[in-house]
């Protein structure tokens, strides 16, 4: 990309640029991908292999702990069932995350720009931080009843604090000298916000988003456990009532898969948007 134009220029005589060139040109991309993915696959193989072995060759009963092979067989038997329930959970988690994102950005903007707001909101955030949020599932369901609302609120509650904290830190992560340069040409608060604070907060917000994808899913599922007609949490509750351990574990695996895919998507977005922030110069092109 932009860097490579500089690399091919005759004046590219500085160390950082040249090192990057050497490092990325040495290995082809299939090998690089294999190198980055294979250790993970190996770790999973060992994990599931050990699990399978443990269940088959020890005296644990199948109702206590299900072998991975049985879980995958269950998933294979009714993929549509798990997918449609995952879709319900995903929607709740997504809307919950979105609500938390909007509220936390608004709160962070206030806190960054006003000392009074900072003093007012900090204790409230600490309150959220120390509240055992999952314990709120039952009152939320009692209060908001059936439907997606309690799940969305739950997903929003568990993701609010990490999002808010990272937004605040990110908005403040500006370089004082750059701030002064902007002030020297009379940049307004809103302009400094849009041109400096937002881009600086982006790495923080994306890192928080990565953490929060998992949290939002768990939040939605926990609320579903108590009362719902659909969703992976509902599948778990029903399976537990019928002692269908296979189904219970299959729902958990679906949730894991969903989380892994989502984190992967966020990582792709991170790589795309944050080229400028990457510490090493390991870009692929």
């Amino acid at each position: 990309m932009s860097g490579h134009r500089a690399l091919s220029s005759p004046r590219a005589d500085t160390a950082p640029v040249e090192l990057a060139d050497l490092r990325s040109s040495g290995v082809g991309w299939p090998r690089r991908v294999a190198r980055s993915v294979l250790p993970g696959i190996a770790a999973f193989a060992v994990l599931f292999g050990g699990w399978e072995f443990g269940v088959r060759y020890t005296h644990i009963s199948a109702t206590e702990l299900v072998a991975p092979s049985a879980i995958f067989r269950e998933l294979w038997r009714a993929p549509g069932f798990f997918a449609s329930n995952a879709w319900v959970t995903l929607q709740e988690a997504f809307w919950g995350f979105l609500v938390a994102f909007a509220v936390s950005i608004a709160a962070a903007v206030l806190v960054v720009h006003s000392k009074v707001m900072e003093r007012a909101l900090s204790p409230v955030v600490v309150m959220f931080q120390v509240t055992p949020i999952f314990a709120l599932a039952v009152p939320l369901v009692v209060w908001l009843g059936l439907g997606p609302q309690p799940k969305i609120i739950m997903a929003a509650l568990v993701t609010f604090v990490p999002l808010f904290t990272n937004a605040t830190v990110g908005f403040r992560a500006i370089d004082p000298a750059t701030y002064e340069v902007m002030r020297s040409v009379n940049a307004s608060r809103s302009e400094i916000f849009l041109r400096l604070r937002v881009p600086h907060a982006l790495p923080y917000l994306l890192a928080a988003t990565r953490v929060c994808t998992g949290l939002a899913l768990v939040g939605a599922v926990v609320a579903e456990l108590f009362d719902s007609s659909a969703g992976l949490g509902n599948v778990m509750t029903v399976a537990q009532a019928h002692l269908e351990t296979n189904v219970l574990w299959a729902a958990i695996f679906t949730l894991i898969l969903l989380g892994v895919v989502l984190v992967g998507v966020v990582t792709l977005v991170q790589n795309r948007l944050l080229r400028w922030a990457r510490v090493g110069t390991d870009e692929t092109g």
Binding site: S2, G3, R5, A6, S9, P10, R11, A12, T14, A15, P16, V17, A20, D175, A177, T178, E180, V181, M182, R183, S184, V185, N186, A187, E191, L194, R195, L196, P199, R275, W276, A277, T281
Partner: protein, 293 residues
């Protein structure tokens, strides 16, 4: 792409391609006083500082740490308000001059935006004040995506044209600081305020940067106020060297540099240069010894 964006891009380039060379503005400080509070006690940063800089003059301000030279620079630039006295930039206050983008500020660190390419960093300050959500304000590039010609010319002058499309992190510290200089010049403002711009660089890079700065400055009629810790730097760059003393911050002496322009490396070995450097050093020492132990 809307025709509107096309139009504004075209107009800006027409304006931008006119040769740089704004007439410098004169700076007058009249009995300026400034204090800060440190642990609840007032600390005098500047005590009764009077100084005038002529339009197009290159003035260096040198002094020990804590003599208020950075404070002085910020008061001139309208970033800090004085507690007493008067500051005029031609016929306006520093605040008005700042609002009219009449200052180009170069801090000690490059202070580049890491997500903008070198070319887009250079044009950043021109975009400030335009509505950022407009496409034309986000990028000063023309419709075919080329950076403005005058920005490229300035980059070429400091040897950075091949890096116009690089990101700051791909550049060395010295190169980044050159981008920061070019950014200030590209603004086309009549006054440049430089706060130890070369202090973080190694001696060799620093040495070369002085003459690059002089070369770019030589084509403009910009007024420069240059804060530094280095005596040779102050002498070789300036028309006048202001020596400041600390506690309280005040002007200790003024040294008129008689070396002809354009300045060259050879001059650093001349007797005239040595005599100036010696007098500045003596003034600095006197201000140092005059302090309470």
């Amino acid at each position: 792409m809307t025709p509107r964006a096309d139009d504004s891009g075209g107009t800006r380039n027409a304006v931008a391609s006119t040769p740089p060379g704004p007439a410098g503005a004169a700076v007058v400080l009249d009995h300026v006083h400034k204090h800060f509070f440190h642990d609840g006690r007032p600390v005098i940063a500047l005590a009764d500082v009077s100084l005038s800089v002529a339009a197009g003059e290159f003035v260096s301000v040198i002094g020990p740490s804590g003599c208020g030279k950075s404070t002085l620079l910020r008061i001139i630039g309208g970033l800090l308000a004085p507690d007493g006295g008067r500051v005029r930039i031609d016929d306006s206050t520093p605040g008005e001059a700042r609002a009219a983008k009449r200052f180009g500020f170069v801090p000690q660190t490059p202070a580049l935006l890491p997500w903008r390419t070198v070319a887009d960093n250079v044009t950043l300050l021109r975009d400030v004040g335009r509505r950022p959500w407009r496409r034309s304000a986000r990028s000063a590039r023309d419709t075919s995506g080329n950076p403005p010609r005058d920005a490229m010319a300035l980059l070429a002058q400091v040897g950075l044209a091949p890096f116009a499309e690089s990101l700051p992190r791909e550049l060395s510290g010295g190169m980044q600081q050159r981008v920061s200089l070019v950014r200030a010049f590209a603004l086309g403002s009549p006054i440049l305020l430089m706060d130890e711009p070369f202090a973080a660089l190694d001696e060799i890079t620093r040495d070369a940067m002085r003459y690059q700065l002089l070369e770019v400055w030589g084509q403009t009629k910009t007024t420069v106020v240059f804060v530094t810790h280095s005596i040779p730097e102050a002498v070789i760059l300036s028309d006048r060297v202001v020596t400041m003393a600390a506690r309280p911050g005040r002007v200790a002496s003024l040294e008129e540099v008689t070396l002809p322009r354009p300045r060259t490396e050879d001059m650093e070995d001349s007797d005239v240069f040595s005599a100036h450097a010696h007098r500045v050093r003596t003034a600095l020492r006197a201000s140092w010894e005059g302090r309470d132990p």
